[in-house]
């Protein structure tokens, strides 16, 4: 297999890489006309992003709504067909990388067992007409993993793993609270024994006291089954807690990606700085003395992203005329090879 595209290894060079995303691009066409349908524009949801994820780690993906973080997760899993780019996923059996964008049919279906997703909305992502047991067991049937008594035992085991009673198997989604539903979603994602899970805002619909329960559960499961997570969220405090490394997205591009300690203690991109300063801290004494960077305006439409650096219209330090507003900043490593710190900004 030939591997093309920019090879940006955002992890440490010696790491065991599970997922290598190169120039991933997802444009959604905007069309006019019914009979003679023609494309008039593209919504540039994800625009040539590259990063790597190593086995067993959690990569946090943060950004505001509409920045393309969910689309990135879905395009990696091939729930959308990416417009361009490669998604290289390490196949356990053979040890080499498979480009997910190139395979289909039976081969794709076999790969899907290894990558699962937990959705944001625990109310919308469970079929109300299926019992909890059949929701959790569906992947077992689809991938032909278990039948009969083995199937029932496995469903019971999965429910126990996520902290639900096995006798809940016969109940229906409406009988569960939000946190319990999210546990069912997690059990379903675990059913086919995946190595990689995309967690798409798994706690943002839940109450504060329940969020901590689910986060702890996700961490326990990661340690127990050696899972790799792509953790998508907009809550920076939660991402800091759960992630090993964090990527910050803005308008379809990655602004900054590095180790979590480095990102929170030494943010370089002005957007990351503004985002961190906007997070309120539950302590009035700390808040009273905290400086805030208030960004002006709204996120521009991905239909017509700004020229040059896409953050320049809101950027508090975009001073370089003819550069920030005209030239797209290079996504480059300003850290070391052992501790990479990638950032896309002219002024860093």
């Amino acid at each position: 297999m030939t591997i093309t595209g920019s090879n940006i290894t955002t992890t440490n060079a010696n790491d065991d890489i599970l997922l290598d995303v190169r120039d991933l691009t997802m444009f959604f066409p905007v069309t006019r006309g019914i009979i003679f349908e023609r494309k008039v524009a593209d919504v540039k949801a994800v625009d040539h992003i590259s990063f790597t994820v190593k086995r067993g780690e959690t990569l946090g993906l943060v950004g505001e709504s509409g920045c393309g973080k969910t689309t990135t997760g879905r395009a990696i899993l091939q729930l959308y067909k990416p417009t361009d780019g490669q998604v290289l996923f390490q196949d356990d059996d053979e040890g080499n990388f498979i480009d997910l964008t190139k395979i289909k049919g039976e081969r794709m279906r076999r790969m899907r067992r290894k990558m699962q997703i937990i959705f944001q909305d625990p109310y919308g992502s469970l079929n109300p007409r299926m019992s909890c047991g059949s929701i959790v067991g569906e992947p077992l049937t689809i991938h032909g993993l278990a039948k009969g008594k083995e199937y029932r035992d496995r469903v019971e085991e999965l429910l126990t793993i996520v902290g639900l009673h096995p006798y809940f198997a016969s109940r229906y989604p409406h009988e569960f609270s939000g946190g319990q539903r999210q546990r069912i979603g997690i059990a379903r994602a675990l059913a086919a024994s995946p190595s990689f899970i995309v967690c798409d805002e798994p706690v943002s619909a839940l109450d504060v006291s329940i969020q901590a329960q689910i986060i702890n559960l996700l961490e326990e499961l990661q340690a127990r089954f050696g899972l790799t997570y792509l953790f998508i969220a907009h809550d920076l405090s939660v991402v800091r807690h759960i992630s090993d490394r964090v990527a910050v997205m803005y308008l379809g591009k990655i602004a900054e990606i590095t180790d979590r300690v480095e990102l929170y203690e030494n943010p370089l991109h002005p957007y990351t700085k503004a985002l961190l300063s906007a997070v309120p801290i539950p302590d009035p004494v700390v808040e009273a003395t905290r400086e805030r960077i208030i960004l002006q305006g709204d996120v521009p439409s991905p239909l017509h992203p700004p020229s040059g650096c896409n953050f320049h219209p809101r950027c508090p330090i975009a001073l370089v005329p003819g550069v920030c507003n005209e030239v797209m900043p290079e996504f480059r490593n300003v850290g070391t090879a052992d501790n990479p710190h990638f950032v896309a900004c002219h002024r860093v």
Binding site: E64, S65, S177, G179, D207, V208, S209, I210, Q211, A212, Q213, I215, N216, E219, H234, L236, S237, V238, R240, H241, R260, Y264, A274, L275, L276, S277, A278, V279, P280, I281, P282, D283, P284, V285, V286, E287, R292, I294, L295, Q296, D298, V299
Partner: protein, 328 residues
Amino acid sequence: MGVLLQVKDLATQFFTQEGVVKAVDGITYDVEEGETLGLVGESGCGKSVSAMSLLRLIPNPPGRIVRGEVLFDGEDLVKVDEARLREIRGNKIGMIFQEPMTSLNPVLTIGRQLTEALELHLGMDRNAANKRAAELLHMVGIPEAETRLSDYPHQFSGGMRQRVMIAIGLSCNPRLLLADEPTTALDVTIQAQILELIKRLSRELGTSVILITHNLGVVARYADRVNVMYAGRIIETGTARDIYGLPRHPYTLGLLKSVPRLDQAMKEKLDPIEGLPPDLIDLPPGCPFRPRCKFTIDKCAVEYPPLITVGENHRAACWVDVTTGQAR
């Protein structure tokens, strides 16, 4: 500073087929002039219902205010007739609702929705109202305010719609602003813009604000005093500094511990509050937090704890002193 609003033993119940839901079960608090009061709690704790009850905005049936008084400037809003209440709503008490996407009327222009209250309450004519509406939009930071008056809500982004809601809420210079989760649907950078705006305007205009939210960080920054609610009652009340610095109710303590904080060292594990919030139809006797509480004593199962004074202007509804773990 005087007291602007006095809520006394307010209780709102919903009469459903499954039974009576005691959404708000006897809450008492004051709001002083010019202060910002935070009302915190998780979904279903009754914080929104308690705010809606102040203006009698609870759909009836199934909801009904079953007892209590809401004294606003000495007038009991629970007892006044509908016509008088309409004079107060949007005029002396402004309201910002939770969802900017759905609480504006999609078939009316932004200008019309702003001028409606101005013409109704302040008796302005169309021209004066339009002029004032443009000023209001400008005040909340919407560029080219005059031309945008003729736009419809769908032409505005979420953050801008919430600004319009604030402009409507403040249009008649209310003495009290009810802000029900004003930033929950918005991104953090926009949330910061909106909250700074509410804070600045309330300072400039001397408006009292009741800020309802589930976000502990938001309350910490913007509220002077805080009421923490659980299962339809206020379980702890005090200044923001006391509540966050010295929480005296196990629930407040648990909530503060369960959230990861940006300014603290990273923890291996979070300390969640175990279990689920109770069903408000079928509340057990005693303290409703007891099944999830780490400090229970025998008395907790029998009797509901009243708000006990634990410090200056600081009260908590708990039989146990959480600093020692002993009964009071």
